[in-house]
């Protein structure tokens, strides 16, 4: 079933791809700089998905609605994908520009740490059969892990010295040309819509998995005398 959000995400992604390839090259880095149009949005989504996982985890603990846990899990998985893409594209960008695949830059180290935090989060989710237990444990770990992220950030920045300041988010002193900025913003926007579409799709998969794993109505759960009551509305 294709939803309008999927169509919008596909169209925007195609536009961002074309824009990223046709805008004029950067004055300093030439065509290599086009990698920014996939690297920066991926890195942005890595942070956004972490934040979404945190918010959905807190919302689950407060409301105990499984829907929030499905979103948290979905966002965690999509986050791993984008964090991985940010690391890989950063590496591919670094090789021709700096001559190395990896450098101990503060932001890179932070992204790598986040990647492993996410992997742990997903592994934790996979290790429970009971959806309620899984939701509680994962929410708690998500909150503790995200609380540590600013500290990881500060410790790594202090360790490596200050990273060059962000060039886009500095009003009044744009470091990047108009068309290039437009292409970058279009890519960031398109990737954000793609993120929403993917999270929605993955949350749906989570919901269906729980639905199938749950005992169905009329099935005996404690001898033949006690059966699962029917749930109106198709489950959780």
């Amino acid at each position: 079933m294709i939803k309008p959000l999927d169509v919008a995400a596909g169209l925007m992604l195609a536009t961002a791809l074309v824009l990223g390839l046709v805008v004029p090259p950067d004055a300093v880095q030439g065509d290599l700089q086009r990698m920014m149009y996939v690297h920066v949005p991926s890195a942005w989504l890595a942070y956004l998905s972490f934040a979404t996982t945190l918010v959905a985890g807190i919302a689950y603990l407060r409301t105990r609605r499984m829907r929030w846990d499905h979103i948290a899990g979905a966002s965690g998985e999509v986050g791993v994908v984008f964090t991985g893409l940010a690391l890989v594209t950063g590496s591919i960008w670094g090789k021709p520009v700096w001559g190395v695949w990896w450098t101990w830059d503060a932001r890179l180290v932070l992204t790598a740490v986040m990647f492993f935090v996410y992997l742990g989060y997903l592994a934790l989710r996979r290790s429970f059969d009971d959806p309620e237990v899984r939701a509680r444990r994962a929410s708690v770990y998500g909150i503790v892990a995200v609380a540590q992220i600013p500290l990881v950030h500060f410790s790594v920045v202090w360790w490596r010295g200050l990273h060059q300041p962000a060039t886009v988010l500095r009003p009044g002193d744009p470091q990047i040309d108009g068309p290039l900025l437009a292409a970058l913003l279009a890519a960031v926007f398109a990737f954000t819509v793609v993120f929403a579409a993917l999270v929605s799709r993955r949350a749906e998969v989570n919901r269906l998995e729980d639905l199938i794993a749950a005992p169905s109505a009329g099935e005996p759960v404690a001898g033949s005398g006690v059966a699962v009551p029917p749930i109106v509305g198709g489950g959780r």
Binding site: M1, D31, L32, V81, T89, W93, R201, V205, L208, I212
Partner: protein
């Protein structure tokens, strides 16, 4: 490797991953909907 080769590699990995991931999710949700008895 030329600049464009690096760019193609990066774009290929990102867009390829996104398309594959979307395809996997769509197939999985279809299969799950079928087994759950939904349309």
């Amino acid at each position: 490797m030329s600049d464009w080769a690096w760019v193609t590699l990066a774009f290929g990995i990102v867009y390829g991953t996104l398309i594959t991931y979307t395809a996997v999710l769509v197939r999985r949700s279809r299969a799950l909907r079928r087994s759950a008895g939904l349309k």
